[in-house]
């Protein structure tokens, strides 16, 4: 049938959207989904149909959520708990997922699964915010899960990863031994065993409390989670490739998106710092390198694309350090979940400080600009140089 007849046969995209919407409104989700999917085969770029597909998915998820919640209310069904947590995670509702996992643990303290699920969630939180209390709780639940199921490899692998990141050498040695005893498929764990053998030390004198406290104070893990061979963590494992970061910040400045940008490592050292005056990396105090003829020694500035190596002191770098080192740790005390960013507006300009991958980014733009849009552009540009560590 041609397009003309489609329109009059209620098969135009508008008619399809309208019919699907009516089905959705009356709760006939399967019928609505069928119409939308067949419509998308004919009109794959229709924004109306794509929006409806999303609405149908959400409606289905909510329906499933209600069903699972009822099952939990009725008899505390552990499978319903697990499915509901997974659903929350899929819908990117981490707070609901965590709350449900906490309830799961409360209702089934003698099962290993709830401790494993909650322990892994808390470990993710710890690897991101480095708060000792989250580390303790993650450890406690993972250990409990391992104790309740003496044959389970997963909680032990997570514990090994945890010990690896915080440099608990003796605990890692014990976990290595335990995993070697129980693992049947040693091939899959070969990389992890090699790393454990290299790092673990059964004679090390260590206290977990002390290690976690030190990490919280120093604001950095002893080892990057991306160096753990089985790691698939994204947020904390992703790294901004420092060699490529200079190019990105240069482009952002050249395009006039920003007035100034600073990238800091977790310990506060500078990855790169750029303004229309030039780009400065870290830390050796050497004279500017790259295009020497572009360096104006009298003005002490770099014209265009040169890179120099003095550690910048004061100024905007300090603003970013103060926000990431003082404000963010204190703000975490208020249980607001993962921090996204800090926005400061002043008559002289706007500042946004946030995290992209493993670096803290501070961007400064004009007072007349919109800080959220500025941040979106910065984050998007930096994500292009964010990848897994190759070390």
């Amino acid at each position: 049938m041609g397009r003309f007849s489609d329109m009059f046969g209620s098969r135009s995209v508008t008619a399809l959207v309208e019919r699907s919407r009516r089905k959705l409104a009356t709760g006939k989700l399967d019928d609505a989904a069928r119409l939308v999917e067949s419509g998308l085969e004919r009109y794959p770029a229709s924004s109306g149909l794509l929006d409806l597909r999303l609405s149908i998915r959400r409606a289905r998820a909510h329906k499933a959520m209600r069903r699972l919640e009822q099952r939990i209310e009725l008899n505390g069904d552990p499978i319903a708990f697990e499915e509901l947590i997974r659903l929350y995670q899929e819908l990117q509702l981490p707070e609901e997922a965590r709350r449900t996992a906490e309830t799961f643990v409360e209702e089934h303290p003698q099962r290993d699964a709830p401790h494993l699920i909650l322990g892994e969630m808390l470990m993710e939180v710890f690897l991101d915010d480095l708060q000792a209390r989250h580390g303790h709780r993650a450890h406690e639940h993972l250990l409990q899960s391992a104790n309740l199921n003496g044959l389970a490899v997963r909680p032990r692998l997570l514990l090994a990863e945890f010990y690896f990141c915080i440099d608990a050498k003796r605990s890692l040695a014990m976990m290595h031994e335990s995993l070697e005893r129980m693992a049947t498929d040693t091939g899959a764990l070969e990389g992890a065993f090699a790393v454990m053998a290299q790092v673990a030390d059964s004679s090390a004198d260590e206290r977990l409390d002390g290690l976690l406290e030190r990490i919280e104070v120093e604001g950095r893990l002893r080892r990057d989670p991306s160096d753990w061979p089985l790691s698939n963590r994204h947020g904390c494992a992703s790294e901004v490739r420092e060699d490529a970061a200079d190019g990105v910040v240069r482009t952002l400045i050249d395009k006039g998106t920003l007035d100034e940008i600073v990238l800091l490592r977790r310990d506060g050292s500078v990855v790169t710092h750029a303004s229309p005056l030039g780009i400065r990396g870290e830390t050796t105090g050497e004279a500017p390198e790259a295009d020497a003829e572009e360096y104006d020694p009298e003005a002490g500035t770099l014209l265009g694309a040169a890179i120099s190596r003095p550690e910048p002191e004061g100024g905007f770098v300090d603003v970013v350090r103060t926000v990431s080192g003082k404000v963010f740790p204190q703000a975490r005390e208020f249980d607001m979940g993962k921090l996204s960013r800090c926005t400061i507006r002043s008559k002289q300009g706007n500042v946004v400080v946030g995290k992209v991958g493993n670096v803290v980014v501070g961007a400064r733009g004009a007072a007349s600009g919109e800080p959220d849009r500025m941040w979106e552009r910065v984050a998007q540009a930096l994500e292009s140089v964010t990848g897994r560590s190759t070390s």
Partner: protein
């Protein structure tokens, strides 16, 4: 001042709010159970004094708004005459330091602060 803070908390369902002087001293607070007022005022002091000083050294002398956003809440700081109003809001509340309720409370606080007796 406490009345203004209380009203603001009621209106926008905030977890707490407080007034911080420009030297970081806590002037007034109204917080819900479970919110540690000392920690909140310490954060307010850090924002006003330490961040303020570093902004000054970067040539950003007059900051009017600060927003620390997280997944399930925000900490907002708005200029209120000679003081700053700080608000802790909970989840799913689409409110910023420039919103009408915050600005209105900040204006009232500014008036209250200006009329406060000085030593």
């Amino acid at each position: 001042m406490k009345d203004i803070l209380h009203q603001l908390n009621e209106t926008i369902s905030a977890r707490g709010s407080l007034v911080v002087a420009r030297d970081g001293m806590l002037v007034a607070a109204d917080v819900m159970d479970g919110v540690d007022v000392e920690r909140l005022s310490a954060l307010g002091a850090a924002l006003v004094t330490e961040v303020g000083a570093s902004l000054k050294s970067a040539g950003l002398t007059e900051f009017s708004h600060v927003e620390v956003a997280a997944e399930h809440g925000k900490i907002l700081l708005a200029e209120a005459g000679p003081t700053y109003l700080m608000v802790l809001v909970g989840a799913r509340l689409e409110i910023g330091p420039g919103s009408i309720e915050i600005q209105s409370a900040a204006n009232r606080l500014a008036r209250a602060a200006n009329f406060a007796p000085t030593e």
